[in-house]
Amino acid sequence: MLALAFLADPKAGRSAEEPIAKASRSTDGLIALYTFDGDDPGRVEDRSGFGEPLALRIDKPQAVLRRGGTFRITAPALIASDGPATKLIDAIRASSEVTIEAWIEPQDTNQSGPARIVTLSENPSLRNLTLGQDKTRFELRLRSASSDDNGIPAITAPEGSAKVGLTHLVFTHAKDGTRRILIDGKLVTETRIEGTLDRWDGDHRLAIGNELTGDRPWHGTLHLVAIYDRALSDTEARTHHAAGIPATDLSRFESLLPPPHPDPVDFVTDIQPILKEHCYECHSGENEDGGVNLGIRRRALQGGDHGPILVPGNSLQSRLVHLVAAIDKSDVMPPDSEGLSDIEIAKLRAWIDRGADWPPSADVADPRESLAREHWAFQPLREIIPPATRNTDWLLTPIDRFVLAKLEGAGLQPQGRANPRQLIRRIQFDLIGLPPTPEELDAFSAAFDRSPDAAIEALVDRLLQSPHHGERWARHWLDVARYADSDGQESDRDRPTAYHYRDFVIRALCDDMPYDQFIRWQLAGDEYEPQNPDAIAATGFLAAGPFAALPDRLMEDERLRNRYNELDDIMSTIGSGLLGLTLGCVRCHDHKYDAIPARDYYSILAAFHGGERAEVPLGQTADKTLGFRDRGPQPSPTWLFQRGDYYDRDQPVSLGFVSVLTRGKSPEDYLREARDASDANATSLQRRALAHWMTDVDHGAGALLARVIVNRVWQHHFGQPLVQTVGDFGVRSEPPSHPELLEWLAHDFVSNGWKLKRLHRLIVRSAVYNQRSAGAPPAADPDNRLLWKMPLRRLEGEILRDTMLAVGGDLNTQMFGPAVKPQIASEAVLARNLKDPYPNRIEDNDELRRRSVYLFHKRVVPYPWLQAFDKPDAQQSCSRRDRTTVAPQALALLNDPFSRQASLTFAGRLIGECDADRDDADLKADFDAIVRRAYLLALARPASDAETAAGTRFISDQLRERIGRETNADAANRSRNLLTAVADFAQVVFSLNEFIYVD
């Protein structure tokens, strides 16, 4: 906290020309001074240095908000001297002159009474002196030989003199009876009321912000209160005004500031970027916190509610510098920071000291647009040269250079290569979502011993060609596409044909369809290849969201709400899912941060406005699919709804895109190209134009689209993305942990035909991906953002289920086709009135053991087993799943019939493969074999001897225990008990951390 001291001699040590000298305060006759600094929240110190300090005590410190030298009274409180203000009363009686000076900011102009700003009194009608506010004017009452004990007649400053905002107030009474009020250095009232002050009452106490009786509160901010036993001259009053509030006297703290930067400083290249990064959010464009705007020169020089902030030619005098240098720890800009860096402050000082040159062309009127135009994610793709690293032995791919350079910069070491069984398990789960078989494990280990690189190369090739790869990665995309097999909402009708879209996704990923085409088809497949069933099925993306069919008889208001919610679902999904933009927000207002105006939202919406979800024929086939189609070739009229109000149809809009992402090509150009390229006549081709723009790297959103998908792919390989805000790449997003790597990957991706499999190959072959997953966390990066090791990952619910089935040898690998309804306990079916109720009973059948991606997701009746493991609800696009660890997951593994059945199946397989169910079986040897086999199948590693012993003992105990419970130990019982005892063990294996976590 600052201790404020005024210079005894205003000119000491300084030449008269210096502005600082001109603006110093007089201490002559100063008998009380309150500058509201000090550490004690319950006290206001008297800094006058005159006589015994007259401190004021605050009865309710919580009513006052103190920041440095500002003192904001927000609730009634009593702030008063403990006893009579004897030193003041005696001095003023003796001189018969008085000045009361204050720097204040009234909170409002409704307070009256008058509301006491400063008072030397006893109660509302007995006073020596009171300075108060009565609505829009100030009033002064002073007891003298010619007034009553209430100080009447009072003198007042004119109507309008009291205003919200910083005000400098000086009241003087001279011996000859002249009374003056000066506001902001200007004389506003002068009158003469003769009479000495020797009638002053010696018992009165001094108070601020209220009457001593507590019933005339004043609300506002005080910066300074000074009392003199003489009348200040008008010149002195003006000087005090020019000196400003005490904070501007901080020039004596030069030693606390970094010296001005010695080099030339240019506003546009050196200064504006500092302001942009740290200040614009609150101080530019429409945001002028405290009245300060740092975007426009004229406004910056005007200063704010607290007075000037920039004094060209004098950085010491510039409040801006004091604030960003955190001179006063309680009053720092930016808020909640420790101020700017020394180099930034040095540059600011140099710029201000040399005259604060600011070319008019550099004014920024709309910071959002300027910020957005410069935002990294909105730029064209750049080609990046991978950085050099000191350690070159570790490198396997260009990716590794980016990661290693960062690690070296932080003084960290990467981990070496994981062992082959860890690697095959990791890569298998990653690329196909299924564990390696013991045979695959052996083959890979042998190949790895010959050549690790070649072994991994071959493994990756094999897995990328597996149809399971499409199933695995389709699940990731279906989260983004909020895909489900029913409508949701009240009736939750089933969507028996929706699966064609899911199958399209699986096939596209298996076939390595270029990602740009993948997106184009999902937005407008019917407008690209109307005869191609896959292209038609792809439009299921637009129809995949929740939907309620409302009958026409219902109120129009209800139906319109429903319709525009449906369109908003598409807009939000496209926004966060494809572009990493929070378009949903723009429905009701211009985007707060991203310079995406509401107009952009409605002009993109125009592309879908003339269309609807429908059962559409799959090309020439007899099948139909849930997809999207235009109702006709004519675009539907679309309007910009202010605040989302769908009755507001004043502003028509036509097809358009996100303007900040569009360069050198208009929506009309895209539309014309779409029409030129197509002979379709049943559709408006607006979606095709949008799809082209979306994937256009040169003139449209293609660069952003590429960055967003590359980040998603990275996230699924490493469990954590490069940009943490996966669905938000806007200006408020988290900056990438490895910006150059992301840019390099996106550029490589686009330059090589938007091929996802190439991207997988690049990543999986990298040294960073091949690292070990264990290691003690270094202090420099405990969260592993820099990837000094491979993150430990957890299987998603679907993969956990698939793996339990696969390990038990019971996985049905049939691909594609209608979704399969899992068995759901009737007590978990919690909704009614469904148009398609969930079946009460589903007989056991092979379909129930298909991969989870084929399970029916009924929105209102989600499958509890998967739901427990954080499967998203498909109500909105999901960019990043939760990863919770809660008891219902354990309950699902311990008690759910699926888990027990899978354990029994696994047990049956183990017993069969170890031939343990014989009358003459050597139990000890058989159980050993069972445990060892279980570890190989489930964990892709041999069991240790200790583990084998523990497992064997457990199975033997359980078998003995179970047989002991039987009343009749015949052969069948032995078989059954063996099965359940081994299942008890298998269930433990399925519950192991090692089973669900991948090294």
């Binding site: 990064e277 909402q489 709400r561 939000s572 929070t582 909704a831 109500q875 008891a887 027990r900 669900i996």
Partner: protein, 479 residues
Amino acid sequence: MTHPNFHSTDPHCGRFRPVLNRRDWLQRAGNGIGTLALAQLLAAESSRANDSPSPNAPLAPRTGHFAPRAKSVIWLFMEGAPSSVDMFDPKPELTKRDGQRIAIDVFNGNPGPLMKSPFSFKQYGESGAWVCDRYTNVARHVDDFAFIKSLHSDSNDHVPALYQINTGIARPGFPAAGAWVTYGLGSENQNLPGFVVLGNNQGIKGGPLNWHAGFLPAAHQGTLFRPEGTPILNLTRPADVTRADQRKQLDLLAQLNADHLATHPGEAELIGRIQSFELAYRMQTEATRMTDFSDETQETRDLYGVDQKETRSYGSKCLLARRLIESGVRFVQVYSDGEWDAHSDLAKNHSGHCKATDVPIAGLLTDLKRRGLFDSTLVIWGGEFGRMPVSQGNNGRDHNPQGFMAWMAGAGIRGGTSHGETDEIGYKAAVDPVTVHDLHATMLHLLGIDHLRLTYRHNGREYRLTDVAGELLTKLIKA
């Protein structure tokens, strides 16, 4: 330098932190609305303690932004929408103009004329609150109620309206109030879910999305408890596994997991998962104990009407609700059975529902008071919207989201008060209209949470239960 209010280190997980930045609240203060609130905000800011739910212990109890009045909430949910003018808000003008036609747009079309209430009304208690002749037991408690008689919401349809009153938004997929509350405060009993829903016989319209965690971590989702038998899913062991078998499984699991943990230093999640199995084991006993009323006296059973045919269902749920909050569960919703959806024969419909809920609710209030739980439990009564002043068919009433009511009682509530009014016929909120956000903001406030600061980042935006609105109903809060 970044501003911490906007850039959390892990936006995915969200944070319990201010959603307003300094600019916003200074602006508010500058506008003169709430300089006091500002001081409180700052005071609370500095006193806020444990603030970020851990993914490993998402329900660990946490302190809110300021000292709470209520520790838990029991929400008596009257599904299907009871009629205000027939329950607690009689309108003489409606009686006077009975049979008159007015211009009005109704959900199902074809509106009838104004229809007076088929019930008679009396004033009760010192506060003189009006209650219909079918709710005489509840009426004995009116001096503890704070009525809100000017609620309004957006949708005329049950399901969006249910979503709105439960989640603040009239669309599916947003976190329910109960989920927000356990996200903010955790729960006192780790062996039970923090947010419990006592559903009804027929299932609730719109289903689990009414008690959904939305984009909040799934642990905050409401758990549907059945009042009889096994209360929640997967609580019963497989038929071929005894409790002893399971204990042995867990012992082996713990041993093997400990060895695995030793090779993975610094992975807190692995420890959390080890603990979750032990918790699951305890939960099986604890949750089953909740629905076993054998330790309740006959007098208590009678108080709730547990053994009477008409009141058995709702009485059992009210008793279960008390047992749950007594055991530390944070948030319990108690749905009424059937629907108050009186499109025809309102008198018969509402008489039946009054019969089924009057004794149980009165019993619950009495029981909470005598057990000293009333001062720490917020009780809310209400439906998803209200009903029209005009008739539908001959003697029913259609949906009305434009003016309806609720009451609150218990912790922090100023009893015998009323906020807002509908117009003279009970059609639209007319005096001091109250939104669902206001109701939620007030509920959170009583729990010690500033609704502006309970936020979660999702798809690039900070979300709140109260969206971008919500004003405290300070009149209803005890000084």
